[in-house]
Structure formats: structure tokens, C-alpha cells
Amino acid sequence: VAAGQRGRVDSTGAITVAAEPDVDRWTEWTRGGIVLEGMTLGDAALELGRRFGVQVEVRGDDFARRRVSARFHDEPLPRVLDALAVALGGQWTRDGQRVVFARAE
């Protein structure tokens, strides 16, 4: 694998190497960052929950199916949620380890 390429090993052990225009997408986690690429808000909530050790619930099936792309560098959870809320027209509340993200009223 050379610079600007991505190597992949699948479950059968087969290796493929392809040009990757956005290598940072795959390596950002090593610097503490989060990359959400065309992910549904529901999946993004699961990822954020894992990263921040909280449970993030998205209210509304339609809202949970909205797709979002994001890159966060060293951002605390409230800032991440604020940015998502602005991007998607949402609002969030937090009670302990539980975060509820819903469409803005």
C-alpha cells in the first residue's frame, strides 16, 4: 500500500488495494477525530454514543433516516450535538447519560 491508497482485507483473506482520495476519512480516528460519511442520523447516534459513552436516541423514524456527513476534531459532545442540530434542523436534550435528539419544533 502506497501513499494515497487504501488496502482492504476481506473475511476470506483476499487483499485489494485501491486509490483513496480521502485517506483521512479512514485514519481520523487515530487522532481522536470522528468521521461520519453519508451516514443516517440513527447510525450516527450509535457511533456518537460509542465514542462519548452515552446513549443517543433519535426521535422519529423519518428524522433518524436523514443522512449526514461530518468531521469532528477534538470536539466535546455538546458541540457535536449543536453542530448536528444546526445542520439538520434538530434540537437535543441530555439527562445524565441519555441524549435525545429530535427535530426542532
Binding site: P21, D22, R66, H73, R79, V86
Partner: protein
């Protein structure tokens, strides 16, 4: 004309002075009008907005989609960027040849001709939103071309539409 309206030169001068005062007074009011998208402290990204990451010089030679360009800029400047993936114009082609330009200016440049604009939070996070007046995402393009019949020789017509990409047609 002034005489017919019954205004003396002094009155004209007073009116002009009043108009000038109104203009001067209106300018700061316009500047103070809140941003439509000023949510949670986010305001429109402008050339005079500063921050360590926004000021980070970026060197980039890039051809690809706007979406990829944003990702590259964000990665190079360690910027946090968020956008609704269904925004129109994200897959428009973009070409950048940038050498040591602040990330803020690169973002403004790449978004300049697009249907999107950037908001920035006090901490420097970027959120992309639809530019006011930009067309909504649709697979359908409607329009009509009306031309007044000319008496003489018909001249060729050239019509072009620019909606993210460019469409042009010619008639003989």
C-alpha cells in the same frame, strides 16, 4: 423642477442632509440585523472571522467534487465540518490550486459559486447550509424560453441554464 415642487434650495439641502443621516443610520441597523441562521451561536462565515483553525494556511491541488474538496480542506486544517448529506450541489465538480491560503478563505472560495454557504460557531465549527434563494434539491428541471417573433432574419438563439452544472442549447 425644484421650483415647481415648491422646495427652496435650503429645503433641498435639508432634505439631502436628512437623507444622508437616514442612510448613515440605516447602515449599522442593517449590520446589526440578526443572521437568519444564527442558531446556537452560529453565524455566516466571512473573511473577517478568525480562529486558529480557520486561519490555518492550506496548500492544496485538487480536482473532484465539492464534497471531497470540503473534506480535504477540513482534514488539512483540522476543521470540524457538518452538513446535511442531501444538500444540493455537493457533487458539483470543483478545482482548487491553493498555496498557503487560510482555510477560511479556501472555504469561502470553494463555496462562492455554489448553492451552499458556511456557518461558523464561536469555537470554529463549520456547518454547511443551503444558500438563501438557492434552488431546492430536485431531479426535475422546469423552464421555458420565450422569444418575441422577429420580422427580419431569424438569428440563432443560445440559451443556458446553470443549476449546479451547466446546460446549454442552441437553435438555428
Amino acid at each position: 423642477m425644484m421650483r415647481r415642487l415648491g422646495m427652496s434650495s435650503g429645503a433641498v439641502a435639508s432634505a439631502a442632509a436628512l437623507a444622508l443621516v437616514m442612510l448613515v443610520a440605516a447602515a449599522p441597523l442593517r449590520a446589526q440585523r440578526p443572521e437568519r441562521a444564527a442558531v446556537a451561536g452560529f453565524v455566516a462565515l466571512r473573511a473577517d472571522v478568525h480562529g486558529p483553525r480557520l486561519d490555518q494556511p492550506v496548500t492544496l491541488s485538487f480536482t473532484g467534487t465539492l464534497r471531497q474538496a470540503i473534506a480535504r480542506i477540513a482534514a488539512l486544517a483540522d476543521l470540524s465540518v457538518v452538513y446535511d448529506d442531501s444538500l444540493p450541489g455537493l457533487d458539483v465538480r470543483a478545482t482548487l490550486q491553493i498555496e498557503s491560503v487560510p482555510a477560511r478563505d479556501v472555504l469561502l472560495r470553494v463555496l462562492e459559486q455554489s448553492t451552499l454557504r458556511a456557518l461558523v460557531s464561536p469555537s470554529g465549527q463549520i456547518v454547511l447550509v443551503r444558500r438563501d434563494g438557492a434552488p431546492k434539491a430536485t431531479d426535475e428541471l422546469r423552464g421555458s424560453v420565450r422569444r418575441r417573433p422577429s420580422r427580419g432574419r431569424r438569428s440563432p438563439a443560445h440559451e443556458s441554464i446553470s443549476v449546479g452544472t451547466r446546460f446549454a442549447t442552441y437553435s438555428p
